[in-house]
Symmetry: C2
Subunit: 342 residues, 2 copies
C-alpha cells in the first residue's frame, strides 16, 4: 500500500507539499496540486486513516454495543444509528453482548482501546464501572433502549410502562379480568419496566394477579414457547396474556397454535414490539409499537451533538411514547367457561 512519501517522491515534491495538495489546506500551486493528484491516482493511493487518527486524536468511529443484532428490534436500532452518523463521516463498530456482563466488559475494553469517538450502548445491567471509566475519559456515551440506575449519560428510551399499561388497560376495557404476562428477565431494565407497567395497570384497575399469571422468560423465542403452556390447563387460567417482547411472542403463538387454543376467543394476546409480520397473522396481532429505528437514529443524533460540541449541557433523556396498534388478537373474552375446548 503506497504512502504519502511514495506519492510525494513520484510527484517530485516534499511530503509536506503532497499532504497540503491532498488535504486541501495551506498553500499549493496549481502545478504542484496537479502533479500530486496525478501521482496519487497513478499509485492508487489511499490515505492511512490509522496514522491520521494518531495525530488528530479522533478515529471517526463509534462503538455500538447491543445485546443481539439478530433480534430485529436491535437490528433496526443499529440501522438507525448508522444512518444518523453516516453523513457525518463516522463508521460504526458493532458488538453483540448477549446480555452477558462479562462479554459486555470485554467489548467495552475493546472499543476503548480502539479509541472510538463515542459509544451507543444498550447496557445489559452489569456493573457500571467500566462504562463510567470510559465516560470519565471523555468519551461521550448514549444509552439506548435501557438505562443504568445512576449513570448520567444521554439516553433514548421507550416509555415501556406506558406502553404496557395501554395494552393492559385496553384488554381490561374489552372485558378481560384475568390477564397474565409473559415477562422478561427482571435483571434487565426493559424486563422490569414492562412488568411494572403490567402490575400498575392491574393494581389501578383493582384486579388481582393470581399465582402463575406472571411468568418470567428470557426474551427469547424458546422461552415464550415453553412458558405459554403454564397459562393453560389451570383452573383459573387467564383469558388474556401480554407478552413482553417480539421473540417470546413468536414462541408463545407457536405454543398456543400447537395447543389448539383459539385466539382471541380462548386466549387474547397482545405483544410488545409491532413487527412487520404482525398484520399477516390470523388473527392479526395487537401490539405495542416502539420505533426501533428512530430510537437508534435519535441516539446517533444525540451522540453527534456531543461530538460536535453543539450541545454541552446536562445529560438529556429522550423518551418515545409507544403506540398501541389494535388489531384482532386482543378481542373480548368468551362468555362461556374457559377451557371448554382443548
Amino acid at each position: 500500500m503506497p504512502t504519502l512519501r511514495d506519492v510525494a517522491r513520484r510527484a517530485g515534491v516534499s511530503v509536506a507539499a503532497a499532504a497540503r495538495a491532498l488535504g486541501g489546506y495551506g498553500y499549493t500551486s496549481a502545478a504542484t496540486r496537479e502533479k500530486v493528484l496525478r501521482a496519487a491516482h497513478a499509485l492508487d493511493y489511499h490515505p492511512n486513516a490509522i496514522a491520521r487518527s494518531m495525530i488528530k486524536g479522533r478515529t471517526q468511529t463509534l462503538g455500538v454495543i447491543v445485546s443481539d443484532n439478530a433480534n430485529p428490534f436491535f437490528a433496526s436500532v443499529v440501522r438507525g444509528i448508522e444512518d444518523a452518523v453516516l453523513g457525518k463521516g463516522y463508521a460504526i463498530m458493532l458488538c453483540n453482548a448477549d446480555e452477558d456482563p462479562a462479554k459486555e466488559a470485554i467489548y467495552l475494553q475493546t472499543v476503548r482501546q480502539k479509541r472510538v469517538d463515542g459509544l451507543v450502548i444498550s447496557p445489559s445491567g452489569g456493573p457500571a464501572a467500566a462504562l463510567r471509566g470510559l465516560m470519565d475519559s471523555g468519551t461521550p456515551i448514549v444509552q439506548v433502549d435501557r438505562r443504568l440506575p445512576r449513570l448520567a449519560t444521554d439516553a433514548v428510551l421507550t416509555d415501556n410502562r406506558a406502553g404496557v399499561r395501554a395494552a393492559v388497560e385496553h384488554l381490561i376495557r374489552l372485558g378481560h379480568r384475568r390477564i397474565g404476562i409473559l415477562s422478561g428477565p427482571r435483571r434487565l431494565y426493559t424486563g422490569r419496566e414492562r412488568l411494572e407497567g403490567y402490575l400498575a395497570a392491574m393494581r389501578d384497575a383493582g384486579l388481582p394477579v393470581a399465582d402463575g399469571w406472571v411468568q418470567e422468560g428470557n426474551f427469547k423465542e424458546a422461552s415464550g414457547y415453553e412458558l405459554v403452556g403454564r397459562f393453560l390447563g389451570r383452573g383459573r387460567r387467564p383469558t388474556a396474556i401480554f407478552i413482553a417482547n417480539n421473540l417470546m411472542t413468536i414462541g408463545a403463538l407457536l405454543g398456543l397454535k400447537e395447543a389448539g387454543v383459539r385466539i382471541p376467543e380462548e386466549m387474547a394476546v397482545v405483544g410488545f414490539d409491532d413487527m412487520d409480520w404482525a398484520p399477516i397473522l390470523t388473527p392479526p396481532l395487537t401490539a405495542v409499537a416502539q420505533p426501533g429505528y428512530h430510537l437508534g437514529a435519535t441516539a446517533g443524533r444525540l451522540l453527534l451533538e456531543r461530538l460536535a460540541q453543539s450541545y454541552r449541557g446536562k445529560p438529556r433523556t429522550v423518551v418515545f411514547q409507544p403506540r398501541l396498534v389494535v388489531r384482532e388478537s386482543c378481542g373480548a373474552p368468551l362468555r362461556q367457561a374457559p377451557g371448554a375446548r382443548r
Copy 2:
C-alpha cells in the same frame, strides 16, 4: 487518557521496560512487572490500539458490508460473522450499502482507509474495480450470499437455483400448473439466480410461463404488497406463486389477506427464507430455508483462515444447500375455476 510514558514514569522505569512488562515479551524482572502493573492499574491505563496498529500493520478489525442490517436475513449473517471472529480478537465495522453501488463504493473506500484486515461483503453488483483494488492491495475478501462474475475471492453462497427449483417442483407435484413468481431485481445476483431456478423448473416440467406471471420487485415489503395484486384478477391467474425473499413475502401476504384471497385454496404461496414467524401464520408458510447465521459464520471462518495464512490456496466457494420446509401454504390447487371468489 494516560499513555505508556505515564505508566513508565510512575513505575520509575523506561518506556521500553513498561512495554515489555505489559506486553509480555522480552525479559522483565518480577519486581519491574509488579511496579508496572501497579502503575497501569492506578492510572487506569488502556493501551492505544491505534498506535499499536500503526507499527503492527494490522488493525484487528474486519469490514462487513451488507445491503441492509434491518433485513433479518442480513442481521443473522452479520451476527454469524461476528460470532465467528470474536474469539480471534477481531472487531467488525458494519456498513449498510442499501444495494447502492455508490454507497458501497464510499464504504469500500472507508474500510480501506481504516485499513481493515479483511472484508466480508455481500456485493450489490456495481463495478468490481474498487473491490479488486482492495484485493490487490493484499486484503483478503470473502463474498457472502452473492458473488460478482469474475472476482476471484472466497465465497459463501446458498444454492438459490436449487432452492427455488425444489419449491417450484413441489408446487408442480401438488398439481399446480399455473405458477407465478414475485422475483427480485435482475441486477442482483440473488434476484437473477432465483428467477433462473424458477424458469428452469417450469421449463423442465414443460409448463408455460404466461405473461404477467413474472413480476420483478425490489426485495422490499412494499413491492411485494404492490405487485401481488398483478397476479389476481387476470383471466388465467396463477394458482400458486413463489416469492423470492422474506420481506416481499410479508408484503404479498398482506396484499392477499386484504384482497380476501384464501391460502392455499385460491392461491398457494411459497416463500424464500424461512423466518421465525413462518410457522405461526395461518396457514403456516412453506418456505425455502437458507442458513443465514451459518453463511455468516462460515464467511468469518474462511476469512480467519486467510488472515492466519492457514489457507493460502485458490479461492474457495462454499455452497449451502437450502431446505424446503413444507408447511401448509402450498396446498393443492382448487378444482373449480379460478377467480370464483373475489
